[in-house]
Symmetry: C2
Subunit: 492 residues, 2 copies
Amino acid sequence: MSKAITSRATDYSQWYNDLVLRGELADYSAVRGCMVIKPYGYALWENMRDALDKMFKDTGHVNAYFPLFVPKSLFEAEEKNAEGFAKECAIVTHYRLKADPDRKGKLMVDPEAKLEEELVVRPTSEAIIWSTYKGWIQSYRDLPILVNQWANVVRWEMRTRLFLRTAEFLWQEGHTAHATRDEAIEETVKMLHVYADFVENWMAVPVIKGVKTANERFAGAEDTYCIEALMQDGKALQAGTSHFLGQNFAKAFDVKFSDKENKLDYVWATSWGVSTRLIGALVMAHSDDQGLVLPPRIAPNQVVIVPIYKGDEQKAQIDERVALLMNEMKAAGIRVKYDNSDQARPGWKFAEYEMKGVPVRLAIGARDLENNVVEVARRDEQTKSTVSLDGIVGHIQSLLSEIQQHLFDKAKRFQQTHITRADSWAEFEQLLEEKGGFISAHWDGTSETEEAIKEKTKATIRCIPLENDQEEGVCILSGKPSIQRVLFARAY
Amino acid sequence: MSKAITSRATDYSQWYNDLVLRGELADYSAVRGCMVIKPYGYALWENMRDALDKMFKDTGHVNAYFPLFVPKSLFEAEEKNAEGFAKECAIVTHYRLKADPDRKGKLMVDPEAKLEEELVVRPTSEAIIWSTYKGWIQSYRDLPILVNQWANVVRWEMRTRLFLRTAEFLWQEGHTAHATRDEAIEETVKMLHVYADFVENWMAVPVIKGVKTANERFAGAEDTYCIEALMQDGKALQAGTSHFLGQNFAKAFDVKFSDKENKLDYVWATSWGVSTRLIGALVMAHSDDQGLVLPPRIAPNQVVIVPIYKGDEQKAQIDERVALLMNEMKAAGIRVKYDNSDQARPGWKFAEYEMKGVPVRLAIGARDLENNVVEVARRDEQTKSTVSLDGIVGHIQSLLSEIQQHLFDKAKRFQQTHITRADSWAEFEQLLEEKGGFISAHWDGTSETEEAIKEKTKATIRCIPLENDQEEGVCILSGKPSIQRVLFARAY
């Protein structure tokens, strides 16, 4: 039996690391701040990626691929964007190694192979993409461009955490080009809804849709829309962002189009992205002290079957029946694994698949076969029941849907009970310390106050919710007039 | 109507570039040697990737993801591998930019943000992966590890060509670990067959399976197996390689396992990869002077439908009928596009889809509707026929299979008629100059002779075919005894 993981109550942060490592989602690597995504974690990412990719294509987007490197002169063209990312860029300066004369068999950077212009490893691709779009766009007929890219990006973070904040991560970045401001804003909001749809309906994580304040905006954007999720420790996590970039990048790269009246104008832009960070959100939203809890729609294995047998004859009988069952389940589109390995006992396997968050576990023994039944265990509720093998596939399908819904409902209840109003500074501070979650409070609308609140409490404005009620009040810190409440939280 | 492309006879190399650019597969980028893969090219790559990925999974492999960067000390651990790639490595030396005091609004590399150890942008991932496997492998129970990675890699090539040789390219790299030498060799050969199966049956490009000579071996491998394809200009193209790495990487990274008798031994390794280079092979194998010719199984669009109409009423009638047809075709799994755009005339569309290599084009006019027929044009043969709309879906399905087979057969005939025996040096040189293709000739088995032949003619030994006939003879250059013929060619 594997060693127990740290409980949430003991050390939430260690619990998270234990889950990621012991659940075999990822591993530390030999490269500072970079992780290895292990096969089980990658299978999860593949399911997430495939679902998202289909949603992007269903909304008219196509995929493409742009270079990993951004020449410094392009990188710095949009000044705000460049400034925002300059401090965390990996820079390629040379293109060759050579034998080190002082250390036999070792290599050194060849000083003669210095690049004339340094290359930035993309932290995001607006610059390289808009420098490319310049060649693709002449007329309104070339618009809109609705392109997405699945790629790795690098941001040299000083403090890293598996999935949540790594120097290299995998993501998708949509980069669209439009003829009008309205169309670009419509696209920005559309993709926010796509993200919310995915995170809520596939990952079973409820989110709040909103707009970032100027302080929290993407560098180079006119507006950043976001979805904010809530973790079990009461901290928020930004799960996806969609940016209205105005004409900033078109101006930086001189991308103009002629409209129907043959008038030249700069192109309007959006960009939007989600990353492997979502896996961190998923882990923290649903899992428990026994291990991962994965929503059926994206779980690498939705069902695991464990045989309980004594001797080869019983095993052969069970294997035979399970082979039939597996075929039926696979035909019904269920991702199922049969673990009849001799190297571990059933109890060990039970703990292992509990750790890995497999939504449904079936155990079949020789007597079950005689009785034509199977033991069905739910990972989320940790309940067991005995179910007839007749119609078991339909039963499992319903159960998977039920678990998916149950995980969402549970997380939604948690979210709803963790959005709390604060009407004074004292109340605000107390809520932050004692309850956490989102705090809905009045704010005077200035960056100074936002900054001061962050300094004092580490809480930031997560978003101004979409369709926010307009309500007069006074700012919890400054006491100045406010026209609406915004959502504060400490965040990942 | 778009400008005609350069013909193969006029300038084969320019023909290729024209096809890639005008077929909208890829574009040059602002980064030296790096390309932009455009949506149409990327859709092709997605189809190739998905087919390969399924083949890998069907043979028991799983995907994972390892860091982009390799610390120099790890990179140099396996000396032959390091030496082989040292001259073409992009090196990250710094992790921050800062405002340039001398140029307002511009950035410079921050000299204070120099890395203690330089990072190599992966040209291949053996080093980073085997340094990781060290932590994953203790016992024979942990073996085999059958992992694949889809990733971007960087090799700083001096002469680049779209798809064929780019500084950054996309690929997959399998990295497996085994308990025995035999099992590793079996895996190496198995994956070679998977590649051959894919390239022949999906890309319709016939290949020759073989083993590389020591000169052409992957740096760090004990044996490199390869598939070699033949292009229309008579040059060969290495389409995929599978390497038996022996215990070289296990020794470099000290990866040992205890076997069933508790005896420690180094782990046996393989690696294998194919890349976006395959798209170059595809273009050059089938296309003609009118544009791309894509095999139906991987074509982004298998069928395009173009309406021929006068006025809105006719258009509406055709739209309505085509909507039904599209549904039927999609339900049958056919990738079909309907181009009823008003912005171009049918003739322009015909040329455009011919350029893009869509295997089947349907044209439907008002009179066709009355007669319940459609005009069906094949891209490969450039023939047309009139077909009844009754049963059209079945007809198209058969036609797509027929085209797939026809492309393969045609390329296979070309390959077969371009494997020629040479029994003297004069014959060898003449064949190379006048006919090209593979030349089957005796070679004395030494690297010196191989090198001398390359110097004189630019021809290399593409491979020693698997299950090669053993036949005594004399080397075409040195006149020394030889035990078998090998395949020479000039190559991409």
